[in-house]
């Protein structure tokens, strides 16, 4: 039970911080919505951890609910890293093209 309270406090801290960042316009409304949805989902997962345990068992996984959430988090992280890699590769290519145009433009 105390773990759930601790997790809830941590989530609350991040949600307050998120509101603060949004108020100061440090993030876009879209980013605010995405991160708010993320933290609210995390809060729901913490509140309903027993139900998730039952769901995970029903689906046939051997671990408990929290393990299952960690697996999902790792998968999400892999996906985010892949997306970042694509994004960096695209930026890198655009930078090279920009450098090329500056170089050839200087020569005109």
């Amino acid at each position: 039970m105390w773990q759930q309270i601790l997790a809830g406090i941590i989530i609350l801290f991040f949600i307050i911080r998120l509101y603060d960042q949004n108020k100061k316009k440090e993030i876009t409304p879209n980013e605010f919505a995405i991160w708010l949805a993320f933290w609210l989902t995390a809060a729901l997962a913490v509140i309903f951890i027993k139900q998730i345990d039952r769901l995970v068992a029903y689906l046939g996984f051997s671990g408990n609910g929290i393990n299952f959430l960690i697996y999902l988090a790792v998968l999400a992280l892999f996906y985010l890293v892949f997306r970042l890699r694509l994004s960096i590769a695209k930026l890198d290519r655009q930078l090279t093209e920009l450098v090329r145009q500056i170089t050839l433009g200087d020569k005109k």
Partner: protein, 230 residues
Amino acid sequence: MAAPDMKIICVIPAWNEAKNIVKVINGVRPHVQEIVVVDDSSRDETGRLAAGAGATVLRHPINRGQGAALQTGNDYALKSAADIIVHFDGDDQFLAAEIPDMVAPLKEDRADIVFGSRFLGRPTNWPAIKRYVIMPLAKIFTRLVLGVKLSDPQNGFRALNRRAALAIRITNREMAHASEIQAKAFGARLRIAEVPVTVVYHEFGQKLSGGFQVLKDLLINKIINPPKAE
């Protein structure tokens, strides 16, 4: 049929090659109409020395790698109405006297692209790790993954006609461009020729870690942007 009046432009990508660039330019000059040195943001006097030796110098404002420099040179050469573009290294490893052999198949319209090869009889003072580890691995990789059937998978000495230069756009900005060019030449169904060339290694050349970097770049590029003719 031979076409001796073709305009040949030699593209030399160079990064901190002040030690060799003038010698290389002087060697290449008798065999081409114009020499373009793409100075990839050298920290030494490469650009100034190259200009003094009579080359056209294109300077990248920031370092982007050999593959990027070659594509910049190709773009310039195409704009300058080159019929043939020769890629030549700035580190004095190739013999400029072999340029006529490289461009002959293009002049005679027997090929669209000519790759130099260290495996067709000319002498090369190979570093052992390059000969026995890097090259066999690179050959297996380029054959199985990229579908390239050539004797030398990583040779920077090549010559292209306009058709080839327009068909191949180099996107690997680092050293993996050599395999990328070969893969795109096959992908675009260009007429390909190989010519024996001599390579003189003054230093160790590519290290084993460099070889793995090339493999990694090729794999990532294949996932992100599969090799194809553009």
